[in-house]
Amino acid sequence: DAKSKVHIVYLGEKQHDDPDFVTESHHQILSSVLGSKEDAHDSMVHSYRHGFSGFAAKLTESQAKILADSREVVHVIPDSFYELA
């Protein structure tokens, strides 16, 4: 099974004011790719739900590609590290 790594799935401006609704929508997007709600829950690292919409999840390259191609996704980028300046 290809190694999964944290990816940021960026969806742009929020489409709803209720943060819980936004997070639920993230779980739905993720479970549609991973196959089940449990897998989606295990894979989810962060849900971005106040200032903008998106989530961070552990994904394989092929899963990231599937998400990147879906219409509601602006882009999918691998997690990276910043340094203190």
Binding site: K5, V6, I8, Y10, L11, G12, E13, K14, Q15, P19, V45, H46, Y48, R49, H50, G51, F52, G54, A56, K58, R71, E72, V74, H75, I77, D79, S80, F81, Y82, E83, L84, A85
Partner: protein, 666 residues
């Protein structure tokens, strides 16, 4: 910060000033995404601080050694984000790690930057006697909200801030209601190719700015090479580091009574006259010696024992000094004099081991003395603090430079601020802490200076957009030091600073409070930029949350309403537009003064701008053409609008490229 605010003209002594006019930023909330905070630090005491602002919706999240009473009316919020870091570092053992799994700061960096921007007054502070004075933040009464997203990775001895954790911190800060977001972080260069929104900080910052939050970022420490500036999105304020008018001269007295003043943070104990050596091959030996700092460990054992060592280096690594010092100590040496390129800001030794930095000229003087006598000796005395003239202001060598490699037509950095040898609060766990304080250097320290200034301006102009604050600090910045002397840009040869070194110049907070007029920007301006940068309609529509169609032909990046004009590829004539909004007296009339870059023609129409009760915003056009016949480098000028009270000045940077998309070795 015991010198920063007096140097910038923001001292409490001035009767009428921004500090007192804004109750020191008392109603403004500054958020920091960093390594946490040491809550017991005196900088975060809430004595004299009023009730928590009503727009605050954040929390004080408990965790390892972080309890509810660690927050107060000053330190009003603390959260930490580690899921991304843990997912990427499965071997991380939180029980063994010296870092705290909470908002508590192990490293000291987060505490330091927070104390620079918003620390309360702490009287009579020094670093082992150096840099003494009153420690305080730019907005001493502003509220502090901590978002810890940077963690110490012991097995690598480094600090890592996962971008997924940073984004979560930004998302929470937007929810919590911070007014200013201060990020002293820099991604590893090279930057993400060509697009800003693939830069994670830029993504979160776009939405923060759209909600009125001012985002201030460090410009990075990869200078003085060009095109190294980080955090280049047009919607954030990107900060370069300058020095203060303060240094730490350290007397080096030679056996022939010559005295040289080097730089160090050496506070003793003094050695007295000690043997001095420059390791080099004596005629009578077949052993190999070297006086190169980073290779001192290759000398035969005992070469440096009981002596002070002179070495030369061309490296600019911050660690050059500490590594050379460790070699000298390992061989029983007693001190180090390191001769290096002027201005490379090297982290001095911190463990009271005398290591003094000088330049090559002075290093050569010492070498000639060593070669002129059989038993050279030297006496290194403790460092002193020298404030004011003749200490000049420079752009720090390490400060990253423009042009903006993502989009050369967007001037970056935006502004300069002191970021060298800044005394602030730190974590007592930090190995360079002295009684909970530390002297640090970096654009990390310069960014919170701007965050503090912007917090004061926000208190004065609560309804301004984030772009308005950027415009105000850029168009009023000092192009000289506060005393009228030129600001040099440290580098492999010093030059007078230009916009790619420090943007509009050195921040002048008092003038920024009343800038005359501003180059304002809002979401439509950022959309214009994104369209000009080639983003497609669907991405932009999702980004802004409503259907957006870029104009066809796509707009020119030169029309992005920035308080600067940067043309990296001028061949034929370029005409661009700027729109300015009056924030001064209702009936104002401004006349244009053009200082064109060498060999460039700049024509502005109209030449007079009139504001009145009905006309708050006006536009003007700028026609730029070149007289050069070759591909040139950048030449710099200014475009000034003056009503005799305000001189609204923007930098103009133009490079002629007769032959476009072309590189040669010239």
């Amino acid at each position: 910060t015991t010198r920063t605010w007096d140097y910038l003209g923001l001292s409490v002594a001035n009767p009428k000033n921004l500090l007192n006019d804004t109750n020191m930023g008392g109603q403004v909330i500054i958020g920091f995404i960093d390594s946490g905070v040491w809550p017991e630090s005196e900088s975060f005491n809430d004595n004299g601080v009023g009730p928590i602002p009503s727009h605050w919706k954040g929390k004080c999240v408990l965790g390892e050694k972080f309890i509810a009473t660690n927050c107060n009316r000053k330190l009003i919020g603390a959260k930490y984000f580690i899921n991304g870091f843990l997912a990427e570092n499965e071997g991380f053992n939180s029980t063994e790690s010296p870092d705290y799994i909470s908002a508590r700061d192990f490293l000291g960096h987060g505490t330091h930057v927070a104390s620079i921007a918003g620390g309360l007054f702490v009287p009579n502070v020094s670093y082992k006697g150096l840099a003494s004075g009153n420690l305080r933040g730019g907005a001493p009464r502003a509220r502090i909200a901590i978002y810890k997203a940077c963690w110490y990775l012991e097995r690598l001895g480094t600090v890592a801030c996962s971008s997924s954790d940073i984004l979560k911190a930004m998302d929470e800060a937007i929810h919590d209601g911070v007014d200013v977001l201060s990020l002293s972080l820099g991604a590893q260069v090279p930057l993400f190719p060509k697009t800003d929104l693939r830069d994670r900080i830029a993504t979160g910052a776009f939405h923060a700015v759209a909600k009125g939050i001012i985002v201030v970022c460090a410009g990075g420490n990869s200078g003085p090479a060009a095109q190294t500036v980080l955090n280049t999105a047009p919607w954030v304020i990107t900060v370069a580091a300058t020095t203060l008018d303060r240094s730490f001269p350290t007397p080096i007295t030679l056996g022939n009574n010559n005295m040289i003043l080097g730089q160090a943070l050496f506070t003793g104990p003094q050695l007295g006259f000690t043997s001095l050596v420059y390791p080099e091959n004596p005629v009578s030996s077949n052993e190999t010696f070297t006086g190169v700092c980073e290779r001192l460990n290759l000398n035969p054992n005992g070469t440096m024992a009981g002596k002070v060592v002179l070495c030369f280096t061309t490296t600019t690594l911050f660690t050059a000094v500490s590594r050379a010092a460790s070699y000298v100590k390992a061989d029983g040496g007693l001190g180090l004099i390191i001769a290096r390129n002027p201005g490379y800001n090297l982290t001095p030794c911190r463990d009271d081991f005398p290591c003094v930095a000088i330049d090559y000229e002075l290093g050569t003087d010492i070498l000639l003395y060593i070669r002129s006598t059989r038993s050279p000796v030297v006496n290194i005395q403790p460092s002193r603090t020298l404030v004011g003239q003749p200490v000049g202001t420079k752009v720090a060598t390490f400060s990253s430079r423009g042009p903006n490699s993502n989009s050369p037509a967007i001037l970056k950095p935006d502004i300069g601020a002191p970021g060298v040898s800044i005394l602030g609060s730190t974590s007592p766990d930090s190995k360079s802490s002295s009684k909970g304080f530390d002297i640090l250097a970096g654009t990390s320290m310069a960014a919170p200076v701007i965050s503090g200034v912007v917090a004061l301006l926000k208190a004065l102009h609560p309804n301004w957009s984030p772009a308005a604050f950027r415009s105000a600090i850029v168009t009023t910045a000092w192009r000289t030091d506060p005393f009228g002397e030129q600001i040099f840009a440290e580098g492999s040869s010093r030059k007078v600073a230009d916009p790619f070194d420090y943007g509009g110049g050195l921040v002048n907070a008092e003038k920024a409070a009343d800038p005359g007029f501003i180059y304002d920007m809002g979401t439509k301006d950022y959309i214009l930029y994104l369209c000009s940068a080639g983003y497609n309609d669907s991405s932009i529509s999702q980004l802004v949350g409503k259907v957006t169609v870029c104009s066809n032909p796509k707009p020119s990046v030169f029309d992005v309403n920035l308080p600067s004009i940067t043309i990296p590829n001028l061949k034929d004539e370029v005409t661009l537009t700027r729109t300015v909004t009056n924030v001064g007296p209702v009936d104002s009339v401004y006349k244009v003064v053009v200082e064109p870059p060498f060999g460039v023609r700049v024509v502005v129409t109209p030449e007079t701008l009139r504001f009145n009760s009905k006309t708050k915003s006006v536009s003007f056009k700028v026609r730029v053409s070149t007289t050069h016949k070759i591909n040139t480098g950048f030449f710099f000028g200014s475009l000034i609008w003056t009503d005799s009270l305000h001189n609204v000045t923007i930098p103009v940077s133009v490079r002629t490229q007769i032959l476009q998309n072309y590189y040669d070795e010239n």
